[in-house]
Symmetry: C2
Subunit: 252 residues, 2 copies
Amino acid sequence: MNLLENIRIILVEPKYAGNIGSVCRAMMNMGITDLALVVPDEHPDWEEARKLACHAGPVLDRIKLFRTLEEAAADCTVVAGTSARTGFYRDHACLPREIAPVVLDSAAHHKAALVFGREDKGLFNEEIAICTHLLNIPSSECYPSLNLSHAVMICCYELFLLAGSGDYKPPRESSPEATGRMRELLFDSWSRMMLETGFCEKEKLDHMMLGLRRIFNRGKLTDNDVKILLGIARQSRWVAAELEKYRNPATP
Amino acid sequence: MNLLENIRIILVEPKYAGNIGSVCRAMMNMGITDLALVVPDEHPDWEEARKLACHAGPVLDRIKLFRTLEEAAADCTVVAGTSARTGFYRDHACLPREIAPVVLDSAAHHKAALVFGREDKGLFNEEIAICTHLLNIPSSECYPSLNLSHAVMICCYELFLLAGSGDYKPPRESSPEATGRMRELLFDSWSRMMLETGFCEKEKLDHMMLGLRRIFNRGKLTDNDVKILLGIARQSRWVAAELEKYRNPATP
């Protein structure tokens, strides 16, 4: 099985069509062909993109368009977002060489995605929240910001090298890993629980959820894990609702 | 000492000015700033190059122009040429990750160069001959040919990672390494010797010299090594000339 076939590159709102084309070429050079674009409004200048794609037409032709990152990553288990900045929730970024085995392990059984943000503004916090891992490409302090296609190339190069090396052995899977869709269900249900049980106030919920996402993304979450965690939330919410009945008995 | 300062990127006859600009950016992202172009005739469209260089103006502004690769690499010890093709004299190519410590070892005391050929035709055999090492960037069989700036980025990335890692310790130098200029003197003198002693015929000289270059480039050559080898050639040529006097005594 070719692990690289299960790897998706996601570009979030790329500004320059030429970059899309250059990304197609970089991907195909490294044996990766699944490209998704998150383009809510405008549509790219395909002619310009095709020029830069050179002989990577096959990658360009099968690009999939999505309106949100959540949709683009819905069927992915590992979702690694690139971030140049540091700060809250961005401090735990790995290097491309460190993330490569994590991505390939996932790709052995599922789709895994690498996410690249806007050329100027990168990924927004709500997009970072969707990522299971953060990725930081090392670069010089004098000029740390890479061209989009260069950033994609470095990541694809590390994946290609590892996938092709005799050293890498994909793992056997005991329980299927949870997809992005399952994880989002989980986080939605837990945020409701946290509000309904009075664990935290509405203003602090987003901040709290970022922390919680980090905890759950630290290791792999299987389908079974998510089912258990969904059950816990459901039960607590039921308890909270029961309590509410006693405190504010419905007027008959 | 910053090892990366001693690394030179040499582009041989780049066709697209945009690629020159993109290469500037990739280099500066990875802390490498010495760029040389081999441009015998035409001059690049600097405006287009500057657009793609983005904030890498400092690299663009200090580009040096040369008429031949020999001149561009004259002061370099290690000269690693990239080659996509295989074949005679190209079979011994290393991976970027393998060449990185060789280049940094040299950069600890001298200039070391990475050479990238034309977008369409790569490096010619006579340019490959000048290189002390060959470098091959792994890529997919479906589309092996990388964009020029992507190829430069991968090599610079490997150098930046290694130079910045705590693992790398530059070597102490016992005897100074020979520069490109010294090596070319050596090869010139040996090819004369081979002809004058009758070791090989003129038609076979180029082929023979490629083999000889490979032998001498297998390890490092110091200044002293080159002086000894130059002396050997000088002596043999003197013997050959003496013999010639006996065989064809000058008519008085």
